[in-house]
Symmetry: C2
Subunit: 200 residues, 2 copies
Amino acid sequence: MNDISPKENDILEAARNRFAHYGFSKVTMEEIAQDVGMGKASLYYYFPTKEDLFKAVINKEQNLFAGEIEKLFYRKITAENKLRNYVKKRLEYFHELVNLSTLNVNTLVDIKLMFKELFEDFEQKELDLIQRILDEGKKNGEFDLKMHRDTTKIFLHLLQGLRLRIIKFIKDNRMEKENYDELKEEMSGFVEIFIKGIRV
Amino acid sequence: MNDISPKENDILEAARNRFAHYGFSKVTMEEIAQDVGMGKASLYYYFPTKEDLFKAVINKEQNLFAGEIEKLFYRKITAENKLRNYVKKRLEYFHELVNLSTLNVNTLVDIKLMFKELFEDFEQKELDLIQRILDEGKKNGEFDLKMHRDTTKIFLHLLQGLRLRIIKFIKDNRMEKENYDELKEEMSGFVEIFIKGIRV
């Protein structure tokens, strides 16, 4: 999925917008085909099922997020700031997923099962990215990590936990601004405490 | 519910054991009455409905937990150690609630609605207890809290989040030892990072 043709990219864009507006179940392949000005048969050539298309949309979003984090590694900023950036961008990506209704409370279990693998791979990717930031900070002399692997997992799980708490407030794929702002504040408070907690 | 007669206490004990073994829905008032050797009518005198009885059981557990934390305030230990103790005892209390099936994934929404008030009051109580520990640490010169109220809330929400993550692994009111051990390790790693993160 890393090499996407312009046509495929158009499809993914159109699909993303449809799913974000109407939710997975209400969107038809017909509509998406129309959006990109192609026949239904041609669309099925690229994506045999709606699930495949949705998976590709999510996969693209995941890659975009991971790509943004990868870019951080080329910047001359402290590991601390990379960690802050990670939390900020991860929240934005969460917001995007909420819009894509992957986190809709009603469909959460179904979709999570359907895309279990996709989410598990992504969790591994997240662990790797966080680990890289922490390793960098350790090498730089910024971070003191007694139990290294665990710190990475704890950080990931704390972030996941804060988001999980908020999911119950999500209705119709929309997160209230109030909840988003609360989460944003908690995340930034959390990351500051965490950074200080692992600082040399 | 703070002044409980010995008879009431017997009922609560029996009910707690029944609920823990069979789950809320499978237990009848008849069975509980039999366990304590009283007529069903007498039981209804104390608790007009099974929901009332269940609420009283949960309330008792909440008070036991809060009581254990209150006791910490009379001990000559650092605020740091109080926070460690808080996390440890809170995890044990969570385990107890899992056994009482209040967190059964299938009934979670129902029971949470049924006992919404009970859980909200308890959340406020938890905020107060954590705040007290943090305040003590601030007064002692142990903790540096820039945004005081927020630190309390972030701490509570991080704990809630770590537990929420684990709830999805709970089946039939039983938490696998493996999951419990993982949670325990995460909690203790978390609390150490957090303490260092707020230390002067």
